[in-house]
């Protein structure tokens, strides 16, 4: 008998071929939901209730014994103790010289493992609490790293800020006057992303039309952009990343940020 299964959900999606143990773990951990059909050849699907091995999994019988889940809780509690003794960046597995942006990436990759949706089916209270405490520790760690970055960051030249507005056709236009004192608005590692101060924050991934005016250079950079972060590092506003800037404009932005940000940091 084949040990390979395909399973399909109520939305027409299919997963497989995968051995029973893989499907069982996905179901037990709540990753596969609303399964309606199954197949052992990838072609002929039957209602999942008619495939006994899989039907049993759906009745809620978790393959993970309570003892295993408690052992996992105990392991996480030990891990929490170990992490608390480390420096913030070490807790995220990032090197000491890592930027806040790199730490943010490491934080995101780590914290999602402890999202409540990742709890195994039938997780005991102790394991649920360990997930919560781990998420809280990681979030507090990231806040600590961002606070440290913020305390060393200068304020931006608000008089240069123009802002954003919505046109009648729904287009969002972002405009900034950018002077040498504003170089720190741009990310040092990613010159095509910049911070836009704003009390109202647009939805993540919102597409905008961007116009940056560099008066010192009598130059305008026009490109599309997307909102990539809301209130980053506790600042009121959003990070916008340019999309499709010309190679010449990209080169200019790199030059501008390196020149003025390096000069500011040297002071």
């Amino acid at each position: 008998m084949s040990d390979q299964f395909w399973v399909g959900d109520a939305y027409g999606r299919v997963m497989g071929p995968a051995p029973l143990k893989v499907v069982a773990e996905l179901i037990a951990r709540g990753r596969l939901k609303e399964l309606t059909r199954a197949s052992t050849d990838g072609k002929t699907f039957r209602p999942i209730e008619q495939v006994p091995l899989l039907a049993r999994l759906l009745t809620g019988a978790s393959p993970e014994a309570p003892q295993a889940l408690l052992a996992e809780a105990e392991r996480l509690e030990g891990e929490l103790k170990r992490l608390r003794a480390l420096a913030p960046k070490q807790r995220l597995g990032a090197p000491d010289e890592a930027s806040a942006d790199a730490c943010r990436g490491a934080f995101f990759a780590t914290v999602k493992r402890f999202h409540p949706s990742r709890l195994p089916a039938g997780a005991p209270e102790r394991l649920q609490q360990a997930f919560i405490r781990m998420s809280e520790l990681l979030a507090a760690t990231m806040e600590e790293i961002e606070r440290a970055e913020r305390s060393s960051a200068p304020s931006y030249a608000s008089e240069s800020f123009v802002g954003w507005h919505e046109e009648l056709d729904g287009t969002i236009r972002v405009e900034l006057d950018v002077g040498p004192a504003d170089a720190h608005l741009f990310h040092v590692a990613d010159h095509e992303a910049f911070f836009l101060p704003s009390r109202e924050v647009l939805p993540l991934l919102q597409l905008v039309e961007v116009k940056l005016r560099f008066k010192t250079y009598r130059r305008e950079v026009k490109a599309h952009g997307r909102v990539v972060a809301a209130n980053p590092q506790g600042k009121t506003g959003m990070d916008i990343r340019l999309i499709g800037a010309t190679p010449d404009d990209r080169k200019f932005l790199q030059y501008f940020v390196r020149k003025y940000e390096a000069r500011r940091q040297a002071r």
């Binding site: 299919v14 997963m15 497989g16 995968a18």
Partner: protein, 121 residues
């Protein structure tokens, strides 16, 4: 010189847009497919440098698609991008020839880092 092509395969348009935005300015040409069958059709037309592949899709699953890709393009790097990130699933994906596994939800830097690592190598 023509830019390297990355094929992004996911039935969720939001995910495809997010992945493409993460990589657009890295000098790649990005093309999309909304399921495994569409991805295999695109592979007959273009020669991507890398494929980013969801696992749970209509018509043809990601693992089925990965198997077909391995038959026709044994050396093509394939990054699995999926929320089905249990240990046994990740092991199975690597056993079937995945080059990397990035869990959803993802941070743009995770995708960029994984792509950079594989394209450079």
């Amino acid at each position: 010189m023509t830019p390297p092509i990355i094929l992004v395969v996911d039935d969720d348009k939001f995910i495809r847009v997010a992945v493409c935005d993460s990589l657009r300015d890295s000098g790649f040409r990005l093309i999309e497919a909304e399921n495994g069958n569409a991805a295999l059709a695109r592979l007959r037309e273009v020669e991507p440098a890398l494929v980013i592949l969801d696992l749970f899709m209509p018509e043809r699953s990601g693992l089925d698609t990965l198997g077909e890709i391995r038959k026709s393009h044994p050396a093509l790097p394939v990054i699995i991008l999926s929320s089905l990130d249990t240990e046994t699933m990740i092991e199975e994906a690597f056993r079937l020839g995945a080059s990397d596994f990035v869990s959803k939800p993802f941070h743009p830097t995770e995708i960029a880092h994984s792509v950079g690592k594989l394209v450079r190598s």
